[in-house]
Amino acid sequence: MNNHWQSLTSYRSPELVQQLADAINNACQGRVKIMQVCGTHTWSYRRHGLATLLTQNLSLVAGPGCPVCVTDQGDLDWIMDLAGEKQNTLVTFGDLMRVPGSNGSLAEMQSRGADIRVVLSPLKALDIALAEPSRRVILVAIGFETTAPVVAATLQHAHRLCLTNFSIVLLLKRLIPALRYLFARERPDGLLCPGHVATVVGKQAFACLPQELGIPSAIAGFEPVDMLLGLLDLAHQLKTANAKITNAYPRVVTEQGNPIARSLIEATFEPAPSQWRGLGELPTAGYGLRGALQRFGLNPAAVLLSKAANGQCLCHLVILGKHTPQACPRFRKNCTPENPLGPCMVSEEGTCAAHYYYPDLDESLEIPDTESEVTLQLPPPVTDGKLPNKK
């Protein structure tokens, strides 16, 4: 693989893409279901039209890997409530702006006068807190292990600055415990591991998946060639019936990840229970604040029950890879990026939004022009009924 890698002249070279696609297609003789757990993988795959180059034997399903998608509706409503309070300045990544809540989206609240700032870096929240001491500045932290060290650094810096008008809504999630939980119940044939989570936690952090659960796993980057190299790795593992963890993104991912980032995560957070949409409360799949940093943490006043009409969307099944977006009766009909009913339709890398913007070539786009609400046929229970049922 390494020689092959070095011979690359381009991560978007059509010739190389075709070569890799041919190799994957040759190796995939039977039907295989590969799961990827990264919104940018979904996005890149669909945006570049990779599906049209690969055999129909291979289906790439999206698992719980878009932070907006996996955020619990109760947490989303909580954020909206905070944004609605006059003394608060809510600082968020753009991803959350269009998420539907009981009171409209953050974008709509912003247009009605709520103080919501979209930032490209969480450190900006500290600048705002320093510059505007009369405001209560609240950082909404979503994301996975990739974003965790950055949020940790922000918190440590807030601590050093002795900020008193800064708080955090800590919704960061730990992907690997959630995957172990999910795969112990239902498993794909292989897993395309998210390259930027692996950048932080290292290749070895994913080794438990092949070792304990026998799932072939390959770490992949996000260019078309990166993704195809990962898929080729998986195709080889499946062919030789040898489940292991491989690294198809060696230019940034190392065996142990980034030691400084990992120890900062360790010093700032401890594993804590977390609510995941579709999975319920998972005991160690979130982060809690350690020691003195706890003063920055906001806790919902009470256990918030979702106010949004949750029965309206199948996001909780989509993020488990159990339903394609197209299988949801509301997809493209009542639920669109302009008027999303669930979080998967929100950010462009959300599973449903990526399928909306970048549909399959043969997908029917005919939308019945109906005045009436689509009747929702609820699918059978999530799995064998063992998943915690939160609501």
Binding site: R46, H48, G49, G94, L120, T336, L361
Partner: protein, 337 residues
């Protein structure tokens, strides 16, 4: 679903905007003359003379951004709506809705820009109106509406009924600058490497095309971006469209910002770019005429109208894949994920 209340999405230029027009305005105005498919209405007044007439409203936050401002935007936007109908823009009228608290300096600057943009295009601003309203608590705003009238000079009409399978699609230049200029100014992004809005009058670029009979259709690519205009064209004609991603001109800075912010350049707005559908036989002549102009120097043949009767836009991606290009939906926000 019928619209209950107006939401931000109804102004985004995507399918919600279409829905708004279809539910509220088209049923009422179509019978009394509305020409919703054109950027400007074409009004024959006898003796072979046809007027082009249009109106457009402009709000932008912030009102000043690299390369342009609300003033020149409001003049050039209306000039362009006339110019893409093959008309020579002549007269503008303008209306201002100004909220309490707007500074006179700001208003003067905007008026000066309008004056300069009009003079540059040899267009006169002949009528105007002002209204002052309460500020809604957010930043004081200025909203400018301009209406324009011009005389059609193109020897054949540039409109949808003339578009046929096999027509070549020509894009007049690089896409995406305007949205990124405004967003960059709004959020202070990448201030070392600002992107300037492409706001400009399209008229000088289009004049040399007036005598070419095989130009079938021209549209300026504003809100909703190239993806939006292509989908509108597919729906209006009933034909499919095939595009080559490789051929779509995008500046390296725009590509760079898009990679970092997670935007798709196909949905970014422009204020000085046109898309043309021309007969295959006239494609190279049209390209060379465009290439001689300042604004059209990056013009590129990006695809064609296919004989496929499914009105969808298919993109051949630069890595050799194929995918559909959907109409834009919703506002743009940067993403981290």
């Amino acid at each position: 679903m019928s619209i209950e209340f107006i939401q931000l999405a109804h102004g985004s230029g995507g399918s919600a905007t279409t829905k708004l027009l279809e539910q509220i305005f088209l049923p009422r105005f179509r019978d009394i003359g509305l020409q919703p498919e054109n950027d400007a209405a074409l009004l024959p007044i006898g003796n072979g003379v046809t007027l082009a007439f249009t109106i457009d409203g402009f709000v932008v936050e912030p009102p000043f951004f690299p390369g342009s401002d609300l003033g020149s935007l409001s003049v050039n936007g209306t000039i362009n709506d006339l110019a893409v109908m093959g008309a020579r823009p002549l007269y503008l009228a303008c209306g201002f809705v100004i909220s309490v608290g707007v500074s006179s300096t700001m208003l003067s600057q905007i008026a000066t820009s309008m004056q300069e943009a009009a003079a540059a295009s040899n267009v006169q601003i002949v009528a105007g109106d002002t209204k002052v309203v309460e500020s809604r608590g957010t930043t004081p705003q200025i909203q400018v509406t301009t209406s324009g009238i011009g005389i059609v000079e193109a020897i054949e009409p540039w409109h949808t009924p003339r578009v046929r399978p096999g027509d070549q699609l020509i894009l007049s230049g690089t896409i995406g600058e305007h949205t990124l200029a405004v967003m960059g100014a709004r959020h202070s992004w990448f201030q070392h490497d600002p992107i300037a809005s492409d706001c400009a009058s399209l008229y000088p670029m289009l004049v040399p095309l007036h005598p070419i009979p095989d130009i079938h259709w021209v549209r300026d690519i504003t809100r909703g971006g190239l993806g939006g205009v292509l989908n509108e064209l597919a729906h209006a004609t009933g034909y499919g469209i095939e595009l080559d991603e490789e051929k779509i001109p995008i500046s390296s800075l725009v590509r760079g910002w898009c990679e970092i912010l997670g935007y798709d350049p196909l949905y970014l707005a422009n204020e000085g770019k046109a898309l043309l559908a021309v007969d295959r036989a006239a494609a190279s002549h049209t390209l060379s005429e465009l290439g001689k102009t300042v604004l059209g120097r990056h013009a590129s043949l990006i695809g064609e109208i296919s004989s496929d009767e499914q009105p969808v836009v298919i993109l051949n991606t630069s890595i050799g894949g194929r995918r559909l290009v959907m109409a834009p939906a919703g506002e743009l926000f940067p993403r981290i994920c």
